[in-house]
Symmetry: C2
Subunit: 187 residues, 2 copies
């Protein structure tokens, strides 16, 4: 059983976060959703479009050793918090040192760049590559996998990104099953 950590910061993009959690769980990945300290009460975190999702634990309570992958949803508000939060930044570095997977979608590859863990080749939401200010960006693929770093582009690619994570961490059979079961033939 693969284990995924999804940090949820105020202002996260809701389609991206929920699609990734939902698809990974359908594919047999155990997902823990962690809120950042200083966020709302009752583990509640509100996204960019006013949708509030309940996280399961604080980011303070997690350690990299318990997970195979860390997955960052996008949204600018959420991304800025992920880029500034020292626990998230330390976790990203720790995941890379321990040769674990790191995934980010939309604006969130910026948070990887901030931690110094972004892969040479990457994708992100259009124009975010200007904030990142580095070569290696491509807009030709929905999902880019470079070593153990996986990046994707936005709400419309979130299901495909979740499926790519299943293919990489669980296998092609699970990928095919979830792709068919969610009617995501466009991925």
């Amino acid at each position: 059983m693969a284990n995924a950590l999804v940090p949820l910061a105020e202002g996260f993009e809701e389609i991206e976060a929920v699609s990734l959690i939902d698809i990974m769980r359908r594919g047999g990945i155990e997902v823990v959703v962690a809120y950042l300290e200083g966020e709302f009460a009752n583990n509640l975190v509100t996204g960019a479009n006013g949708i509030t999702v309940q996280a399961e634990t604080s980011i303070k309570n997690v350690i990299a050793d318990d997970f195979d992958i860390i997955v960052l949803p996008g949204g600018w508000g959420g991304t800025n918090r992920l880029a500034e939060d020292h626990i998230v930044q330390d976790l990203l570095k720790s995941f890379q040192v321990k040769d674990k997977y790191i995934a980010a979608i939309c604006a969130a590859p910026y948070a990887l760049h901030k931690a110094g863990v972004l892969s040479q080749k990457y994708t992100c939401y259009p124009s975010v590559e200007e904030q990142i200010g580095r070569s290696g960006y491509t807009d030709r693929e929905k999902v880019v996998i470079d070593g153990k770093v996986m990046t994707s582009r936005g709400p419309g690619t979130a299901i495909c990104f979740g499926l790519a994570i299943i293919k990489e961490l669980v296998g092609i059979e699970s990928y095919n099953m979830v792709r068919a079961g969610t009617l995501s033939e466009f991925c």
Copy 2:
């Protein structure tokens, strides 16, 4: 400004519910998310894949007159509750009598059928048409619009369904903007 009501029942499909709410809000539709009575505390409702979302009010507090459309997310658990809840069933009938829009995705067209408001031509998640047990089903389109009833198929068509609702209730400009902004060219 168009107004949408999204009833959220335990066991709802999370990608569908969140994609619809997110996309409709991006398109300028005011969305109210309502929980069913007897559900969790703090307006919290848990979906089919263990993701808990906070609703904004009880379904007891809403009236059809305040809305232009009612939008039902799928998931079998959620759909069965929507099909059995007398407030939701009465609302569906009321929306039809008042010539308002009615939308349902995945398994949820079954809840429309139960209320007697399902359109002649419709789509749904594959095999749900057997539960509905009626002609008029098509699997050739992601979104079917028949009069003021809109239906769609599953998680992979949820963004496209939200976009179709924007096109119908807000207009083509908003549709084009949200489609491009969410990188949903596959719709």
